[in-house]
Symmetry: none
Subunit: 226 residues, 2 copies
DNA sequence: CGTAATTTTCACAAATCCGTCACGAAACTC
DNA sequence: GAGTTTCGTGACGGATTTGTGAAAATTACG
């Protein structure tokens, strides 16, 4: 679920926004001013920031600018009426949306949803591509390359490999793998995992070495020195 | 340059928006109501629509929905204060932004710019023709050429192809395709996608090879080495 | 209102994958 | 090093998934 940071110097506003946001099942954190927001963003990962423009210590614009230097988080600005010039300026530093005070919490939530949705589809192209020596894994494209050559795999092989890689260097029991890759409603044989590990290893060719057997336990994807 | 269609029943509003839009060097066309907007969109290509919600004959929501069935044009809605319920609904049918009346023309223009910019980066250049070997795709003109010859396709085939191409090399599940191409309110069979993929492949002739089946997953448009 | 075009569903064939089993190899225990 | 447990693997029948043609339903448009 998405985590949201609410930045405003007024407690009452933070409280209202928090209430609505938690109703929508967002995880909420608060900051009292721009300075605190910058610090919190350095320490934590948020999916979105809702920030007032006028605040003591560090205003919303400056805080946004500072945060954006390190992280590309969507930001919705709250501002008082009649700050038109500021609005335009806001769009230029890349604020994702504006809501004018006094705002309706429902409207704010609709915009939060829209911006989060927008971000999600855009980020789908920020393709994660993992590389271990000559083994390349394209999660978004659902493809695996062995020494530059596409390795064709069955769905279960992909799922299994992706799960192991997502939990890199972590020991995975057969039960855990069955639950995660096959689903909680699979009631078959433990050893089914073995068979698929076998096939996955064959598909990986020389990079089968990354799939390590943990006797009496299960398997893991190990990417350390070999 | 971008072409904008302004849809509002009040002459004065159309005039104001036209003035500002032409100052920004957009090409402007007008429609008096939703019905006229739908017709004009069928006949011409616009890069964006600015549309009032309340209009005689056909309201903004219904018009948007109708237009979106055939063309994926960004839409900014204008609405009077206090139509909160409608707003939420509006975001769900995929309106790109909202501006509340009475609006400031400057703000409206800033949003137009933002939405157009967003669209351009998403479309990876909206006016450009994409070329994959002998397969040419004209996103703006909504046309596809196979070895220089225009390929006639049904609207759904276009939509499906365009969506796959916009998400090139990305694995797409049937559900994702249904939601994106058919709309969130489609409650039919998954396999409908398969049938349209079949027809799309036939239309693409030898370039059917770009449409790759991802067993157990869905499909993708793959433009890598073959 | 009627015809044509498009979309959707359905059924069946073809392709592919999955889960189980059996047996031998490897590893661990004592 | 014999016994025991665990793992690797090939094979096979059944289960899933996909491709496709055709019928049915819906929609577009004169």
């Amino acid at each position: 679920m998405s985590r949201i940071l609410i930045v405003d110097d007024e407690v009452s506003i933070r409280a209202v926004v928090r209430e609505y946001a938690e109703f929508e099942e967002y995880e909420v954190d608060e900051a009292e001013n721009g300075m605190e927001a910058v610090e919190k963003c350095r320490a934590n990962d948020y999916d979105m920031i809702i920030m007032d423009v006028m605040m003591p210590k560090l205003d919303g614009y400056s805080a946004s600018k500072e945060i954006r230097r390190h992280k590309n988080i969507p930001i919705i600005m709250l501002s008082a009426r009649g700050e038109e010039y500021d609005k335009l300026f806001g769009f230029e530093i890349g604020v994702d949306d504006y809501v004018v005070k006094p705002f309706s919490p429902k409207e704010l939530m609709a915009r939060v949803k829209a911006v989060l949705k927008r971000g999600r589809t855009e980020n789908a192209s920020s393709r994660e591509r993992l590389k271990f020596e000559g083994l390349e894994i394209d999660l978004a494209g659902r493809e695996v390359y062995v020494n530059g050559q596409k390795a064709s795999m069955t769905p279960k092989e992909y799922d299994l490999l992706f799960y192991l890689v997502r939990n890199i260097n972590l020991a995975m029991t057969r039960d855990k793998l069955l639950e995660a890759v096959w689903g909680y409603d699979f009631f078959g044989d433990d050893r089914t995992v073995d068979t698929h590990i076998k096939m996955l290893r064959n598909s990986l060719g020389e990079y089968r070495k990354f799939i390590v057997t943990l006797r009496g336990m299960g398997y893991k994807f190990e990417a350390d020195a070999h």
